[in-house]
């Protein structure tokens, strides 16, 4: 047991529900399962993160011994969000989404269409094309997108159920490299904004929530941490703290000091 294992307040409740496509989710921390060294690590990170939704990828059968992954996810009662990781074109992403829908009996998809292996940045043209076609085919589309407010707007207009801007490229752990753009995306969003990718440590997740994101999706920051379960607990608390701070309303930043102790009634010494 660590201090972070102590019970925490319900992350979402009637007063502050987190709802995607009409479905309430009990946690604002969404967890990717990629990068974990073993299924045991997947299981312990899910437990200590308190997540209600995990992403999975679709790959050729037999590539890896993954037989128990769905069992693990079921055991923890988490919703499964298949992704289209590795797809470079709208066509590939569409087929992958359709395979995932058949395999997992869900019409939700984390849409990823990346331009190259070096940056893993979304290809905006292919992404928007895929989003439009998937929405037309009845999918609930959660697109992994650049931190571009205009692209986020176009994805919303296309009918996406959320927008998921990156904080930094996948797996970099650089945090939020353009917080101003994230704020812009939040400011005009009509669907949930989920900060996806780039999170390195707990303060990054807290910052995303303080900027007004509705949730955070991360994988590597937890699965590749030296102690994945402890980092999962840290992320759980960071997301809760960031959300609470956002709702509480922070003080404005000032250029000069402002005493918090009374200035009247000072003794003359």
């Amino acid at each position: 047991m660590t201090a972070l294992d102590e019970p925490v307040d319900a992350p979402t409740g009637p007063a502050d529900p987190f709802v995607v496509a009409g479905v309430p989710l009990a946690s604002r921390l969404l967890l990717g399962t990629g990068g974990a060294a073993s299924m045991a690590v997947v299981e312990e990170t899910i437990a200590s993160s308190g997540t209600a939704l995990c992403t999975v990828s679709m790959r050729r059968h037999g590539v890896a011994a993954q037989g128990s992954l769905l069992d693990v996810l079921d055991r923890h009662g988490v919703r499964i969000l298949p992704n289209t990781a590795g797809c470079r074109t709208a066509r590939e992403a569409m087929l992958t989404a359709e395979l995932a829908r058949e395999a997992l009996e869900t019409n939700w998809v984390k849409l990823e269409v990346v331009a190259d292996e070096f940056t893993l940045l979304p290809d905006p043209i292919e992404l928007l094309d895929a989003a439009e076609q998937l929405v037309a085919r009845g999918f609930v589309v959660l697109p992994y997108t650049n931190d571009d407010p205009i692209l986020a707007r176009r994805l919303q207009q296309a009918g996406c159920a959320a927008v998921m801007p990156l904080g930094a490229p996948i797996g970099t752990g650089l945090g939020l490299t353009n917080p101003h753009n994230i704020e812009l995306i939040v400011s005009e969003a009509t669907v949930p904004v989920i900060l996806d990718a780039g999170i390195g440590t707990a303060s990054d997740a807290a910052l995303a929530m303080e900027l007004g994101c509705d949730a955070v999706l991360l994988a590597s920051a937890v699965t590749r941490a030296q102690d994945p379960a402890l980092m999962a607990a840290a992320m759980r608390h960071a997301v809760l703290a960031g959300r609470a701070a956002r709702r509480a309303g922070r003080i404005p930043k000032r250029r000069h000091a402002q005493a918090s102790s009374p200035v009247q009634g000072m003794a003359v010494l």
Partner: protein
């Protein structure tokens, strides 16, 4: 007849259905999906989908992923 399954050549009996092929590969458990010649085939249609010589089949399943 010769088909390709997940990139590997495979010799199967004439008239083999997608249902038989996938069941043999995966045990037919939950979590699998199949595409035949680039089109996704719903599970309900596997028993009625016969492979042809030269068919290209992809069988996928959920794995850990971000």
């Amino acid at each position: 007849m010769n088909v390709t399954v997940n990139g590997q050549p495979r010799d199967v009996a004439t008239g083999t259905t997608l249902q038989v092929l996938v069941s043999g590969e995966t045990g037919g458990g939950r979590g699998g999906a199949a595409a035949l010649d680039g089109d996704v085939v719903p599970r309900s249609q596997w028993p009625d989908t016969a492979l042809r010589d030269g068919s290209v089949v992809e069988i996928v399943t959920a794995v850990q992923g971000g």
